[in-house]
């Protein structure tokens, strides 16, 4: 197990190196940051000075080497938009908020998808099954920003139950978390449903029934424990959606997270911050996938990594 983790961490480094090249190149494709940063009437001399100051006169590969060299020392440069602020600090300050939202969204998604998935497998083709599918599909087919705005309209404007935006109390978290999490319910619920159906039809469930095990224990102990393995694979993918989903949702709800930050940074062509966000997101997603692989071995005794 230890060897497996070390090997995976080394792979992570290689992946991150690739990510850094892609991110660096993509950011360069988006245009000259001076167009966004400097006023139209700036003089040629001023433009030249800024170019040299930021090292943008160097060839691209030199820029990358400087970038990666600094990055390895934890220095992702200064924000262009907020001079004097370190890009990494800006991102890390807000990463907690984003992860907090993602965690609540994840809990919401699981809390909705597990019962719906299990019940619709147990009552296959019934009204429960249909209703479950409907709830799940609604979440997947409606765009984040639209659900967000409609929620604000219903729950904040009309009913005045929840605050429209910002962060502070638990109430602030409810709507954005549901918006992000709901999207995941459909996929997760369908995975659980199909693996539950397979599990419930298995010989070991038959044998458990023969032992006289109650239906509730059959569903939750014998069938679900097996059925949980498949959706777990999807968790890594899901985490990336939760993090990525934060971009629109945080903007709609003015949630002070990384997603909101990156939208501002992109608009301002704040290279350093965009690069940092991409690399931090990539790191988070890779680590989550590693965590899923480790969790895997705990749930399924047939998997041992050595």
């Amino acid at each position: 197990m230890q060897r497996f983790i070390i090997r995976r961490l080394l792979q992570t480094l290689v992946t991150l190196l690739a990510v850094s090249i892609i991110v660096f190149a993509l950011a360069r494709l988006s245009g000259d940051p001076r167009d966004a940063l400097m006023p139209m009437e700036a003089s040629r001399a001023d433009r030249e000075r800024i170019l040299v100051h930021w090292g943008l006169d160097q060839p691209v590969h030199m820029q990358y080497l400087v970038f990666i060299g600094n990055a390895l020392r934890g220095d992702f440069g200064e924000s262009l938009q907020w001079p004097g602020r370190k890009a990494l600090d800006l991102v890390l300050d807000r990463l907690g908020n984003t992860m907090e939202l993602a965690a609540v969204a994840l809990v919401f998604a699981i809390a909705l998808a597990v019962p719906i998935g299990v019940l619709s497998a147990v009552h296959k083709d019934s009204r429960t099954d249909f209703l479950g599918k409907l709830i799940a599909l609604l979440g997947q087919s409606l765009p984040h920003f639209w659900i967000g705005i409609v929620f604000i309209w219903i729950f904040s404007v009309h009913l005045r139950w929840l605050p429209t935006s910002g962060r502070g109390t638990f109430q602030h978290m409810i709507m954005p978390a549901i918006v992000i999490g709901w999207f995941q319910v459909a996929a997760l619920m369908r995975l659980i449903r199909s693996s539950m159906l397979e599990s419930l039809d298995s010989e070991y469930v038959k044998l458990a029934r023969i032992k006289g095990v109650s239906e509730r224990m059959i569903i939750w102990k014998h069938a679900f424990r097996n059925a949980a393995i498949t959706p777990l694979t999807y968790f890594g993918v899901m985490m990336s959606y939760l993090v990525v989903g934060s971009i629109t949702t945080e903007t709609v709800f003015s949630w002070p997270g990384v997603g909101y930050l990156v939208v501002q940074a992109v608009t301002a062509r704040d290279f350093q911050v965009v690069q940092t966000v991409a690399i931090v997101f990539a790191t988070v997603i890779i680590l989550m996938n590693l965590a899923v692989d480790i969790l895997y071995a705990y749930i399924d005794p047939r998997i041992r990594y050595d």
């Binding site: 298995s202 010989e203 070991y204 038959k206 044998l207 458990a208 029934r209 023969i210 032992k211 006289g212 095990v213 109650s214 239906e215 224990m217 014998h222 424990r225 097996n226 393995i229 749930i299 399924d300 005794p301 047939r302």
Partner: protein, 353 residues
Amino acid sequence: MSNEPTLRKNTTQRANGNVILDVKDLRTYLFTKKAVVKAVDGVSFFLRKGETFGIVGESGSGKSTTALSLLRMEPKPAGRIVGGEIWFYGENILDKNEKEMRKIRGSRISMILQDPQTSLNPVFTIGNQVSEAFTVQEGRKNNQGTLLQRVIDLLRKVNIAAPERRFSDYPHQMSGGMKQRVVGAISISCAPDIVIADEPTSALDLTIQAQYLRLLREIQQTTGISIIFITHDFGIVAKMCDRVAIMYAGKIVEHGPVRAIFNHPLHPYTHALISSVPRMEARVERLFSIPGQLPAPGEMPAGCRFAPRCMYADDRCHKEYPPTFGGLSEHTEHTTDCWRLEDPTWEPKSYSR
């Protein structure tokens, strides 16, 4: 159509002495979108204490559905028991509710499934799965220490070496034969009256098969349980069973003591089946096989199910299901569903071999 034997009436199917299970006219139908499949179509048999009763038939003949119906575990949601009685120690199992059935399953009637590779849950340890059989039936009154000891004793009973080490193994760490022993241990954990063995050895290789059959007999001798043995292998029937029923397309076509069935099969289907078992001493070019195949579900012949494949069939066989006839005089409890037996001296011709 009556289930009482007619003619050759020197015998009776209703048995005397120690009958613990008496199945009468059991009907389990599968309701699919296309058709109603009469998987078990009026099956009657009985089981005595301590004996082994075989049910033999091709796949699709309804033998497994019969077995599952005894536990009220007919394949749901399509399957439903639509008629009959299952008398078990004077109580009709078909009158029980689900909660009462759970008390019977495992503790009084249990079952060994066909494939040991899939019948144990892959994510729980052997110990967990064996001890569950105890805790489900007895509640959690056992303390962990005695429970552990009982599981180990049980595993030892089914000849698992070093059971105290095997206790915390997962199924994937065991061989097929060992897993099937564990399933056997689970089936006898609560000292049941009846163990239904649904082709328990067809997934095992031949040497392991012989060992397993020996183990079952040992267990039967020490505990006195009755076994319903479902198989398609006449060799196993000869080795294991006291009495045997031959099933064809949802019906028991012949039923009797193993020796009577082997020496004097009266139903043309049984006769053909036994003739198709290869013999060491016979040198033949080709093995005998019965022409045709089982009727497709939903396309059951109106009369005798076997008539389309039967070399003796006449018009009436195709139109009307035959009554149940008693067997030859020297064999008691031998019954056959075949029109030919109206002639008390009729016997199927032997196939040229």
